[in-house]
Each structure stands twice: as structure tokens, then as C-alpha cells.
Amino acid sequence: MKKILSIFSVSFALVFSSSAFANTIGVVYDSGGKFDKSFNELAFNTAERVVNELGWGMIEFESANDNQIEQGMRKIADRGATMIVGMGFAQADAVAAVSADYPDIKFVAVDVCWLDDPNNNIYQACYKEHEGSFLVGMMAAMASKSGTIGFVGGMDIPLIRKFQGGYEQGAQYVNPDITVLANMTGTTNEAWNNPTKGAELTKAQIDGGADVVYQAAGGTGIGVLQAAADAGIMGIGVDSNQNWMHPGNMLTSMLKRLDLTIFEQAKNVESGRFESGINILGLSEGMVGYATEDGMVTSEMAAAADAAAADIASGALVVADWSQE
């Protein structure tokens, strides 16, 4: 009996222990899926970097729908994560609920910046995507020969309007006469996950004369960039550097440096310097930008974008945030 009990307790300890690692990063992905070649994949790659460079353990959760998020996050907390990354605005409620019950675990909430934080254990990061989008909008307008450019968004929410707004303002900053065709894929979660619809929207914009298309549509964006490449026009990627997907048909990608955020916070957790709070990160913090690697950004475009970036960072140029309207 004793033997059985000890086997039991050993296996129990094995299943629930987290003692193998001093620290463990937990990642809860957004509904676009882990391998969306964009937002979620960037978080995954960063978590891998935390594992490789800082020697942490990693636990992941991919939710099939929004109702599972909180449950999944609790499970990660129970399994001994020291820092949990919640990807996307849809996880706000889950982060609030779980962080209240686990005061010792640190949370990083990406795209969430409005939660009360009684335990002071949430690092809330929102990005000024409109500033980064402004820069790629400028480049799109400079690259366009037809004077018409396109934008394909995922789900129609204020966050995506922010991308669209920055892009249109940037394009108009360079060329006041530019036409911007903008489409949203849908109004439900499915809109992040419908590349066929994304391709169709892009084809419609190409028929309308667009020769540069910017996507902020999660997994749907894979279809957008594919359709752009098929038609021989240029696409603009989002969140992570997507230029490698279609070399020769990618102008640039708008970078949202959540990789820097996550890695930095992991280091802070390790050194005990983690600070909770609400952070709005933009060009002046170096947390949004554009990618040149594998892209087709000319030196002229880069110079113009960098000049505008300096103006935005210094406050001389203000990009309106359409999500606030």
C-alpha cells in the first residue's frame, strides 16, 4: 500500500511539478492560430527565444474559441508558469480574472491597456499601430504607380481601424490625391481565419486599380498577400516581418515589436525588476516600425519614412488614432 502511494505521489509530483525550470513562460494565443505567420507566431518565436536564451520552460495554450481562454490560462497558471503572456484584446477578461487569483504570477497582456490591476502583476501593452501604419502608408503611396492603394482588415474592430487610419493618413501625407480602397473581412472571429475571402477582397481592390495592398487581418492576410503576389502587385505585411513570404512582391511589413516587449518582461521577471502598469508604446519607444529585410523599400522611401518617424517621435507630427473616434 505504501509503495503504491509513493508511486502515486511521485507520478503526481512529476505531472504537476515545475521544478525542472526556475522560470516558465506561458503563452495563450489569439484566435488567428499559433502559426498565422504574423501576430501569434511572433509571440511563439519570442517564447522560444526566452527558452533558448534565458533557459526557461514553456507552456502554451491555443484556444478553439474565446470561451476556453480563461480555462486555458488557469491551467497554465496551475502548471507553474511564472509569467503568462495573453495575446490579443479578446483575452482582457481572462487576464483580469486569472491575475486576481494568482498574485505571484506576472502577466503580460498584449493589446490590452484598460484593466484595473489590484495585485500589480499585469504589464499591459498597447501599441501605436497607427504610427507604424503611417510609415508604411507613406511608402505605399510612394511605390504606387496607379495612385490607388488598398487596405484589408480582419474583424471590424477599433484596433483594426487604427491600422487603417494610420495607413490612410500616411499615404495622404505623401500624396494628397491618393485613393485608398479599404475593406474589412467580417464582423466575427472567423474574419481572422478566412484567407479565401482575403484573396477575394484583394482581387476586388486590384480590379479597382490598387497596386499596393496592406493587410491587418491575421490568418486572412495570408490570402491577401498571396493574391497580391499572384497578380504581380506589392503587399505589405503586418506585426512581424512577412517580407520573406513573397520576395519580390512585398514592399515592407509594419512591425509591432511585441517580441521586444515579451523578451524584456521575461528578463525583468528573472531579475525581479518587473513593473506592472499600462504602457502605450509607439515610435518614440521604438516599439513600432517597418521592415526592410527581403522587402523593396528604396532609400528614398526609407529617408522619407525616417524623417516622418522622427517628427512623430518628437511630437511635431501627430497621427490621429481612429480607434478613439
Partner: protein, 323 residues
């Protein structure tokens, strides 16, 4: 001229969006005309998309990918038949089981084979179906009306678009003009009478399901190897269910089902183009309302213009031979 090219773009878009719906609706007609409910069009379309993408990635030829997709889809149809025809299980339950199985299976297999849950590697140009440009399309473009009609509308589609619309008269001919079709319809209306005449009800239903599997495979391959260049988690996105609705809308008849599919495609294509456009006197319509347009139109048409849809008499009932 700009008006004409806008119209051409709208028609092209309608044809493209409707293509998977047409294949799926035709597949549904075969199954349901024989008396077997096929709710699993959605799952089979998804499986076909997956198999076609994986097949053409490994074999280097999209046609071989399509062939594999056909084989797998026919197997799935046979599975549905085995459960609901041979073993007389509930047809809807069998379909739902297939749908759920495939959502999980495609994601898991992609994770196991390519290390990326729900995504297959991007296909290159040799591994995909590309748009077909008909001969003289460029030369004839400048001729007014005929040029637009031929070069911009008729030319420049994926092979599946042509096949989908060619399949409709073929399905019509098989179902309504051949003795096979007569038996097929009879099995769905009054299986015991057919049995009395010495025709095996089970064999007929299996044959119908086999054709159903072949047709639905085209819809899936269109999604993953023509419009897109890889498989994506749940990429069928409800098109199977929409096709089923179109088939019922079209009263289980190929011609009317085609019209229903085109209507769904048209409203979808229209809503893409209406987004953000200022309409005279009304102003800009909110995106939410525009995106609800296909559904509103469907309800209005269904309530007002389409008469009563009468299903095949024996649909959903497993045939039990009297002892």
C-alpha cells in the same frame, strides 16, 4: 468604360465566390436525391482542401493532389454510407461526426507533418492551379463589349470555375435524363417500390454518395490549390453549409440550385464593393449592415419569392428491407 470594367469585375468575383458552392450543391443533390442527408459537405470540403494541398506539395502536380482529394472524399462518403445506409444510423449524426473529426484531423496532421498546426507549406506555381488565359484574350480586349465579355469575363479564371459551371448541365442530364438518374430519384422518393422492381437500394445510394465525394473534392481543391496556395485551418469557413442552403433553396434541382449559389456569390461580391462607398442620397452604409446583406436578401427571397421546397420523400430515412 469604367462602368463596364466595374461590372466585369463584379461578375468575375461572383463566378469565383460561387464556384465552391456550385460543386458542393451539386454534390449535395446527388446524396439527397438518393435519400441520404449530407450535412458533411463542410467537412469533406475541408478534407479535400487539406489533401489537395498536401498531395500537390509532395507530388509536385496539382492534378495528382486533386486525384488524392477525390479518393479521400469518396472514402469519407463511403464512411457516411456505411454508418447511415448499411447500418441505418442517424444520417445527421453521422455527418456531424465526420465534420468534427475532420476539423481536428486536418489540424493535427498538419501539426504532425509540417510542425505547424493547421497550415501546410506554401505551394509554388508548379504545384498550383493558375488562372487560365484563353487564346487571343489580349488581342481581342480592345473590341468594345465583345472584348470585355471574352477577355475580361470569360478568360482568366481558375480551371475549377469553368468545371463548376460545366458540371451543372452534366448533373442535370444525369439526374433527369438517364435511367440511372431516374432510379436515383426513385430511391430517394420511394425506396420500397424501387426494391420491388429489383433494383438494389443500397447500391444506388452508395453510387450516389461516390459521385457526391468526387464533386465535393473539386470544391476543396479550388480553395487550397487555386485561390490560395496552402491549406489553412477551417478554411472552408461555412461554405459547405451555405451550399446546402443553396441546394434546399433551389429545391434539390441543379438549375435552381445554381441560381441560388450565384445569388449568394453575387451578394457577397456586391458587399465587398459597397464597403466604404458613398451611395447617393443615403451616404455611407455601415459595414455591419452591408455584410448582413446576403443573409437579409436570402430571408426576403426565401419568404417572398421561392415557393415551398419539397424534399425527396424518403430523405433521412434509412431503408429497411422487409423480412
Amino acid at each position: 468604360m469604367e462602368f463596364l470594367s466595374d461590372i466585369a469585375s463584379l461578375i468575375n468575383s461572383t463566378l469565383r465566390i460561387s464556384t465552391p458552392l456550385v460543386f458542393a450543391a451539386m454534390a449535395g443533390i446527388f446524396a439527397e436525391r438518393s435519400g441520404v442527408i449530407d450535412f458533411s459537405l463542410e467537412g469533406k470540403m475541408l478534407m479535400a482542401a487539406f489533401v489537395a494541398a498536401v498531395g500537390s506539395y509532395y507530388l509536385g502536380n496539382p492534378w495528382l493532389g486533386l486525384l488524392l482529394a477525390i479518393i479521400v472524399c469518396v472514402c469519407l462518403s463511403m464512411l457516411h454510407g456505411f454508418a447511415s445506409v448499411t447500418h441505418k444510423g442517424d444520417q445527421v449524426v453521422s455527418c456531424v461526426a465526420i465534420n468534427i473529426l475532420i476539423i481536428g484531423l486536418t489540424t493535427a496532421l498538419a501539426a504532425a507533418w509540417f510542425g505547424q498546426a493547421g497550415l501546410t507549406p506554401t505551394l509554388n506555381e508548379d504545384q498550383r492551379f493558375l488562372e487560365i488565359h484563353l487564346p487571343f484574350a489580349d488581342a481581342l480586349r480592345d473590341i468594345p463589349v465583345i472584348g470585355t465579355l471574352y477577355s475580361d469575363i470569360l478568360s482568366g479564371h481558375y480551371v475549377f470555375v469553368y468545371l463548376a459551371y460545366l458540371s451543372v448541365p452534366l448533373v442535370f442530364w444525369i439526374v433527369f435524363k438517364t435511367s440511372f438518374g431516374l432510379r436515383l430519384r426513385a430511391v430517394g422518393e420511394n425506396p420500397s417500390a424501387v426494391d420491388t422492381a429489383g433494383i438494389n437500394v443500397f447500391t444506388m445510394r452508395y453510387k450516389a454518395l461516390a459521385i457526391n465525394g468526387v464533386l465535393i473534392a473539386f470544391a476543396g481543391a479550388h480553395l487550397s490549390t487555386a485561390v490560395n496556395a496552402n491549406f489553412f485551418r477551417e478554411m472552408s469557413a461555412g461554405r459547405g453549409y451555405l451550399a446546402l442552403a443553396a441546394m434546399i433553396f433551389g429545391k434539390w434541382h441543379p438549375k435552381t440550385a445554381l441560381i441560388a449559389c450565384l445569388l449568394f456569390g453575387f451578394t457577397d461580391a456586391l458587399q465587398i464593393r459597397l464597403q466604404g462607398v458613398e451611395l447617393p442620397a443615403i451616404g455611407e452604409i455601415p459595414v455591419q449592415l452591408i455584410q448582413a446583406l446576403p443573409y437579409i436578401l436570402t430571408v426576403v427571397l426565401l419568404a417572398g419569392f421561392v415557393g415551398k421546397a419539397i424534399a425527396p420523400n424518403a430523405i433521412g430515412q434509412p431503408y429497411i428491407k422487409e423480412r
